[in-house]
């Protein structure tokens, strides 16, 4: 029997949006007035795909994720070309997850079936909020009702494989409003939800508005309360909290692709600004790379050199160990000693972490140690303040 293939994920970045949300810090641009040159972008993506996936032919693709930007603005036949090209380079594992992010706007909803035919088997919809006022203020061109309609339609096409994003903590939002909104969202949810606290990222219009005090967001304590309420309400409806902002009603509905990031698995990202993390098969070095963020420059380089890589770094052992803990402890399943030793070169978790502090947080009920599986995990209370805890336990 052949040895098990090393899992690999593929991230494909689609750089355009039909509207720009005020809170978004991802790399994106409004669709150009002359329209998107679909052929050029797709060819560049395919070129980059061939260059960057080829060295990984002995691995297997566990997941593909089309993100952006708004990848539902791309053409289904091009999505299909990318999926089948990827499959040719590195075989898709049985049951591989292929997710596409979509806006709930009408034009894209009509393309849903074609995306399914192209090979997409998991659909992620950016609802963000059901409050029309907040949607307008954040620059989104759809209503809450349209959002729910899109979810319902997606559920019919991708039963059990639909997720959508919700955000809490918008300006002037009250606990009661969020409670009502979340209740409606849960009524329509399939088996997975991503629920984020609104984060004000530097460089976004929202950041500038907040700094200029044009926008006042709910206080930290109100936001904390919203988060706690979210965890409780989801659980009451059977949605288990498995990562800071992720909820699933069944383990099989958890995002395989995202868990790959948190478990420190390898992925290759293509498209402008996409990041990658993988082990170079030729020299076993851990590599981190990022593609050129500007779409035009990225495409030009792909055409010229076969890839649009902007920067590439070697990830040191020290960095890899830090990352393993930081991302492992975003999940309620935590990080296992075994998983950690995979990146640490044999050092155990207990040998690496400041165990006096770990013990302190275990005593305080923020962390737990599961002896049989040798697994360190945050408790719900601990997850809520994990950024503070990480600063203490990482040497």
């Amino acid at each position: 029997m052949a040895a098990a293939r090393v899992p690999l994920s593929l991230y494909v970045h689609w750089p355009y949006c039909s509207f720009l949300c005020k809170f978004c810090a991802f790399s994106k641009a409004r669709v150009p007035s002359q329209g998107v040159d679909h052929e050029r972008i797709t060819n560049a993506l395919l070129k980059e795909l061939r260059t960057c996936l080829a060295p990984h032919k002995d691995k297997e693709l566990r997941s593909i994720y089309f993100g952006g930007g708004t990848p539902s603005l791309s053409l289904p036949r091009n999505i299909e070309r990318i999926i089948s090209e990827a499959n040719k380079l590195v075989p898709l594992a049985p049951g591989a997850e292929v997710t596409l992010e979509s806006n709930p706007t009408l034009a894209e909803v009509t393309k849903m079936r074609d995306f399914k035919l192209a090979g997409v088997n998991r659909y992620s919809i950016g609802i963000q909020t059901l409050n029309d006022d907040s949607l307008r203020k954040m620059g989104r061109l759809h209503t809450g009702a349209e959002g729910l309609a899109a979810v319902d339609r997606a559920k019919a096409l991708f039963p059990g494989r639909v997720t959508f994003d919700m955000i809490f903590g918008f300006e002037s939002q009250t606990l009661r409003q969020w409670q009502e909104e979340l209740k409606t969202a849960l009524d329509h949810a399939d088996r997975h939800l991503s629920i984020y606290q609104l984060t004000v990222e530097p460089g976004t219009p929202l950041f500038r508005d907040q700094r200029a005090q044009r926008v006042v967001l709910p206080s930290d304590d109100v936001q904390a309360r919203m988060y706690e309420m979210t965890v409780d309400m989801c659980l009451a409806r059977g949605f288990r909290h498995y990562e800071v902002s992720s909820y699933a009603s069944h383990p099989s509905a958890e995002s395989m692709h995202n868990k790959g990031y948190w478990r420190g698995q390898q992925w290759v990202g293509i498209g402008p600004s996409a990041h990658s993390r993988f082990t170079d098969p030729t020299n076993r070095q851990r590599i981190s790379s990022v593609r050129i963020p500007d779409t035009q420059r990225w495409a030009q380089q792909c055409e010229r050199a076969g890839h649009g890589t902007g920067k590439e770094f070697v990830v040191s052992d020290a960095e890899a160990k830090q990352e393993a803990v930081v991302f492992g402890l975003r999940m309620l399943e935590g990080i296992s000693d075994e998983g950690f030793m995979g990146v640490s070169g044999g050092q155990s978790l207990t040998g690496y972490l400041c165990m006096a502090r770990v013990q302190h947080y275990i005593d305080e009920g923020h962390l737990s140690w599961h002896a049989p599986t040798a697994c360190l995990a945050p408790t719900e209370r601990g997850l809520q303040v994990i950024d503070t805890i990480l600063l203490e336990i990482i040497p």
Binding site: S27, Q223, S245, R330, Q384, V385, D387, T388
Partner: protein
């Protein structure tokens, strides 16, 4: 312009072409001491014969000026004029290397220098003796002035008289020096020479027509300067026939020869091989070399009465060289010159390594920094909260800031320096006194009741000069700082000079900053010590979750307790970041709680989104936060930021 300024310049001769002010890297001390090149430029190695110049043709003078009024530029011009340095156009007082110098516009310590000048067919030896300009060093200034017979009072024609000008004038006046007034920068479009002259006339009772008008920058009128000095300054008195007697007025440390002393010979003469004795310590030294600064060390066969020069005498440590000390020839003791006082610390601050493992390295640094500056007093101190450290004493706040910056530059975030305090005194009923260097020295309630007669605090007499329209806010500022107004006078139609007696404790923290902001930068300030007075002092303690933090304790006047107690609690609340539990901050004095604040528990701190592209950003942020955390000092369970230790004593507007 704010006056907490030190105007002393370290000059050194730089490969024979360029006259540079320099602050060597060896340590803070260099800020107050000069450095020089060990080997003089080619052609200057030989001994200089100055014996042909009799005392009648020697003039020892200094320049006193407010910061930026052009003292260094004038010195440059005089050196060019007398051919001591070549006229390259590059002789600019630049290269203020210390950060504190750049930030505060101060330059640190000037070199004394000997020049030759022909006047009416006679050759004169002109010794320019530079003085530190800042009040922290007023003792050093007074000793430098004691080596002179005359001084140029240099005033910026645009800015007019400033507080430092006044303070320096009175120091010179007190030493009985001839004062030669000059207005500088008269060519500036903003110059108002008539007005400035009037100020000089009214403040110092100097006739306006005696005042020279020059521009040191362009050289305008500079040729009149030395003749004026010769005409108006008496030659040094003293007798060649009397036994050798000299005033030590400056020293610096040289790695090759040890301590170099600058002395003014008051009587007799001295040459290599002579043995001399310090009046203060009684220690005997053998003279290895004598000479003058021309501009670097230039050996001479001897130093004679009236001359000013350097002496190398096998002195190993700067602590042996006391500014103001009198030296005499072995076996020929003389009466010591008046005015000698050993260095006295006026401001204290605690220094602690954030990481206890850094103690030895820091210890070494402090020793190195004090090697050249004996005026910093060093005592070991142990704080329950901060561990082992030092209590350092300084001549004043500027002196402290210079030292602090040197340490911080070297140690970055890894040291913690507590808020400055002043030396309070406790008078016991049995008549004995005790200095309070640190709040931990303050007697507890029982001792207070049973043994203490009174508590005392040091005072200063301050001079403030500012435009009339700020009179209200300046009076308010002084009153708010427990000032006792003595008088105010108009030095011209629109400028006021205010004299005020203030507790020293009130001016060691943010008084200067407030003065500056309330007067939009137009007020200048200077002060001199004015002894101790009885004062109702109490110790304020800070409790974090019920535990007293010794490093946050402070001694203060009883009247400040309520306001300061609330202030301190609320400032601590602002600087202490939320942690995973509530933090209760209490300030107490005399066993009573003055104020209470709570830093609420942090309920949520987790990055919401973290996917592929966010990983790099997240890790960068984490490492930045970890760096920031190193700046925190953990007291019990509570993490305190560096700023927490600086909140004490500071007060809001």
């Amino acid at each position: 312009m704010l006056q907490m300024r030190l105007a002393c310049t370290a000059w050194r001769w730089h490969t024979g072409t360029q006259w540079i002010r320099h602050c060597p890297a060896t340590g803070l001390s260099s800020c107050f001491r000069r450095t020089y090149v060990a080997y003089p430029a080619e052609g200057k190695r030989g001994e200089l014969d100055i014996s042909a110049i009799p005392p009648e043709r020697i003039r020892n003078f200094s320049i006193i000026a407010h910061i930026d009024h052009g003292k260094s530029t004038l010195a440059d011009r005089l050196l060019e004029l007398t051919g001591v340095i070549s006229k390259t156009g590059k002789n600019k007082q630049v290269l203020d290397k210390l950060k504190v110098e750049r930030e505060r516009g101060i330059t640190v310590k000037a070199q004394s220098v000997s020049m030759f000048y022909e006047h009416k067919g006679q050759r004169y030896l002109m010794n320019l003796i530079d003085t530190p300009g800042h009040v922290d060093f007023s003792y050093e200034v007074s000793r430098s002035l004691a080596a002179c017979q005359g001084t140029i009072l240099l005033v910026d024609a645009a800015q007019g008289i400033q507080a430092q000008t006044v303070a320096n004038f009175y120091l010179a006046f007190g030493e009985g020096l001839s004062v030669i007034p000059m207005l500088n920068k008269v060519d500036l479009p903003t110059a108002e020479p008539e007005r400035a002259a009037k100020q000089i006339e009214s403040a110092f009772e100097i006739e306006a027509d005696r005042i020279l008008k020059i521009s040191a920058k362009t050289g305008l009128g500079v040729e009149q300067v030395l003749p004026a000095v010769i005409e108006q300054t008496p030659p040094p008195s003293g007798s060649e026939d009397k036994p050798f007697k000299a005033l030590l007025f400056d020293t610096w440390y040289d790695t090759y020869v040890g301590v170099v002393c600058l002395m003014a010979v008051k009587d007799g003469s001295i040459r290599r091989g002579d043995k001399i004795v310090s009046s203060h310590s009684g220690t005997k030294y053998e003279v290895m070399e004598v000479g003058v600064m021309h501009p670097e060390q230039t050996p001479t066969t001897q130093l004679r009465v009236g001359q000013v020069g350097y002496i190398v005498c096998n002195m190993k440590s700067i602590a042996e060289a006391h500014v103001g000390d009198t030296f005499y020839r072995d076996k020929f003791p003389v009466e010591a010159l008046p005015g000698f006082v050993p260095a006295k610390s006026m401001v204290f601050a605690g220094v602690f390594p954030i990481d206890a493992g850094e103690f030895d390295r820091l210890n070494e640094s402090i020793q190195k920094l004090t090697l050249n500056d004996s005026s910093v007093s060093v005592h070991k101190e142990t704080s329950a909260a901060l561990g082992q450290g030092w209590r350092l004493g300084f001549l004043g706040t500027l002196h402290m800031d210079v030292f602090r910056q040197r340490l911080e530059e070297e140690y970055d975030t890894n040291i913690l320096i507590t808020s400055p305090t002043v030396p309070y005194q406790i008078k016991y009923r049995d008549g004995t006194f005790k200095f309070i260097r640190t709040p931990a020295d303050f007697p507890d309630a029982n001792v207070m009741n049973d043994y203490v007669e009174s508590t005392m605090e040091p005072f200063v007499t301050s001079t403030l000069i500012f435009p009339e329209k700020y009179l209200g806010s300046m009076l308010e500022l002084c009153t708010a700082h427990r000032g006792e107004l003595q008088n105010h006078t108009f030095i011209d139609e629109s400028r006021v000079m205010l004299k005020c007696r203030l507790p020293m404790a009130e001016i060691v923290t943010d008084f200067f900053d407030k003065l500056k902001s309330k007067s939009q930068g137009f007020a200048s300030f200077d002060y001199e010590e004015a002894g101790y007075d009885a004062s109702d002092l109490v110790k304020m303690e800070v409790l974090l979750n019920g535990e007293a933090v010794d490093a946050l304790a402070a001694v203060m006047h009883k009247s400040s307790v309520v306001v300061a107690g609330r202030e301190i609690a609320s400032r601590l609340k602002d600087v202490i970041r939320r942690q995973l539990f509530d933090i209760i901050i209490q300030t107490t004095a005399n066993g009573k709680i003055v104020a209470r604040e709570t830093v609420k528990q942090l309920r949520k701190n987790v990055t919401a989104k973290c996917y592929g592209g966010d990983i790099t950003r997240k890790m960068k942020l984490l490492n930045k936060q970890k760096e920031g955390k190193k700046r925190l000092k953990r007291i019990g369970k509570v993490d305190l930021p560096h700023e927490a230790f600086l909140t004490i004593v500071k007060r809001a507007e």
